[in-house]
């Protein structure tokens, strides 16, 4: 599974993307955040404010409840500030 990071998440993690292989019990976006945060101290800090973490799964906006089983790309980013 490829994971993408944008904006201050990318800066705090010092990477724009990575390949990860979460275990089978990581079923949702929220589970994936928890697993990434537990794996790495920088990720724990970057993901600390869960309510500010937005996500997209395979190119579609997602919530923390969205399933990630079989997903190819999961993206994490702060609230959007387009326009």
């Amino acid at each position: 599974m490829k994971v993408l990071y944008f904006a201050w998440l990318r800066e705090r993690l010092n990477k724009g993307e990575e390949e990860v292989s979460p275990p089978a019990q990581v079923a949702t976006v929220g589970d994936l955040i928890g697993w990434l945060a537990a794996e790495d101290e920088a990720a724990e800090l970057a993901f600390a404010k869960r309510h500010l973490i937005r996500a997209a799964v395979d190119g579609k906006l997602a919530t923390h409840e969205t399933p990630v089983a079989g997903a190819e790309v999961v993206a994490f980013f702060p609230p959007m500030t387009g326009g």
């Binding site: 944008f6 201050w8 997209a56 190119g59 959007m80 500030t81 387009g82 326009g83």
Partner: protein
């Protein structure tokens, strides 16, 4: 319907003229241009726009289709830049055309409210004393809420 997510500069007036020229039957055309703003009391040197390009293209395409059906738009176009911009440069432009003015206005405002909250761009201001990410505004969420789900 046209969506252009690009790092290239664009010419607001030339885009508006091309949009009007290709839209048959419109009585009203509305153009919104967003411009990099530097406040005298808190100046910025540049605005850096980060973008998840694939998702932006998909999100804006979906928002355009929704706007067109809600407001009987004859045509609508969104141009949105990413990369480094300086004060005074156009960031993005929304154009709508409709038989009557109410729909053209409502369509443009709807598109703007959705772009603010649902298009994957992130703004960072480069100031004389450092850089800072622009925070999402509660008022933008509220503006979007008025259109319902």
């Amino acid at each position: 319907m046209d969506v252009r997510v690009t790092s290239e500069p664009f010419d607001p007036g030339a885009e508006a003229n091309a949009f009007i020229a290709r839209t048959q039957g419109a009585g009203a055309a509305v153009t919104f241009t967003g411009i990099v703003r530097s406040k005298a009391e808190d100046p910025i040197l540049a605005l850096e726009l980060e973008c998840y390009v694939d998702l932006a293209q998909a999100q804006i395409t979906a928002i355009l289709a929704e706007a067109a059906s809600r407001f009987s738009l004859l045509d609508a176009t969104v141009i949105h830049r990413h990369g480094r911009l300086v004060p005074g440069e156009p960031i993005m432009q929304v154009m709508t055309a409709a038989p009557h003015r109410e729909d053209a206005f409502r369509g443009a405002e709807f598109l703007m409210d959705y772009l603010k909250t649902d298009a994957p761009f992130w703004k960072k201001e480069v100031t004389p004393t450092g850089e800072r990410w622009v925070e999402a505004k509660a008022e933008d969420d509220e503006a979007r809420e008025r259109w319902g789900q």
